[in-house]
């Protein structure tokens, strides 16, 4: 069973430290994929994103998705971190790290985790605009749902 690390937190995180933690002290890791999702400024229009989550369920869902990836690919470790609260453009929102003996597993698992995380983990984004117009909840994309059909 690979080492699974799941954290849901308001604080920023350090992708490099998380990646190193997965490979630390072992010499059988051949590849590590790190995906970092960042807050875009939407052409300068965005003041901040507000990330709401369902405490308890968010951690449970991320753990369930990680366990599913661990069952499908021969991984040594999976780390998923997801922030909530107010996040400014340029800041990190989410991190997925996968370590394995071979490259293919790391790419596929990280891609899978991000796909499922987006459509299954209970987080919701609200956009606060710089022009002071009413804040709006981000709509789920149909493409996110259809992305799941790849797996």
């Amino acid at each position: 069973m690979p080492r699974l690390t799941i954290r849901v937190q308001p604080e920023d995180f350090d992708p490099a430290r998380e990646a190193e933690a997965l490979a630390h002290g072992r010499a059988d890791v051949g590849g590590i994929v790190t995906f970092t999702g960042l807050c875009r400024d939407e052409g300068g229009a965005l003041a901040a994103l507000e990330l709401e989550h369902y405490p308890g369920m968010a951690e449970d869902e991320l753990s369930r998705i990680a366990a599913e990836a661990a069952a499908r690919w021969p991984l040594f470790g999976i780390t998923i971190l997801h922030r909530y609260g107010l996040i400014r453009p340029g800041e990190r929102i989410v991190l997925v790290v996968c370590a394995a003996a071979h490259r293919r597993a790391t790419f596929e698992a990280a891609d899978f985790l991000m796909d499922f995380l987006k459509s299954r983990a209970p987080f919701w984004k609200k956009e606060h605009r710089k022009d002071g117009s009413a804040s709006e909840w981000v709509s789920a994309k149909d493409s996110d749902e259809s992305s799941l059909l790849r797996w």
Binding site: L51, E52, M114, W124
Partner: protein, 93 residues
Amino acid sequence: MRWNHEGGWAVKVVYFAWLRERVQRPEEEIAFPASVVSVADALAHLATLGENYAYAFEKPEIIRAALDKKHVKPDAPIAGAREIAFFPPMTGG
């Protein structure tokens, strides 16, 4: 879940994102009548509780639900659940 005097029960209902804003509260205890069996029944019942509820649940087909923090389909029976959550499609990541 607590049985109430009408033969129904009271259960904690939680809302997220724009559902929470429309309902105008993050959570509440609801005494469902005995006729409410499934998640879809619970949703339909909530939609009758007032204007803000009607607005929140006007498009039931896009609303997601969880029983005790696990995703469920609309036909899932709610009997035994301590917490029912309703929320829009997720947009994390």
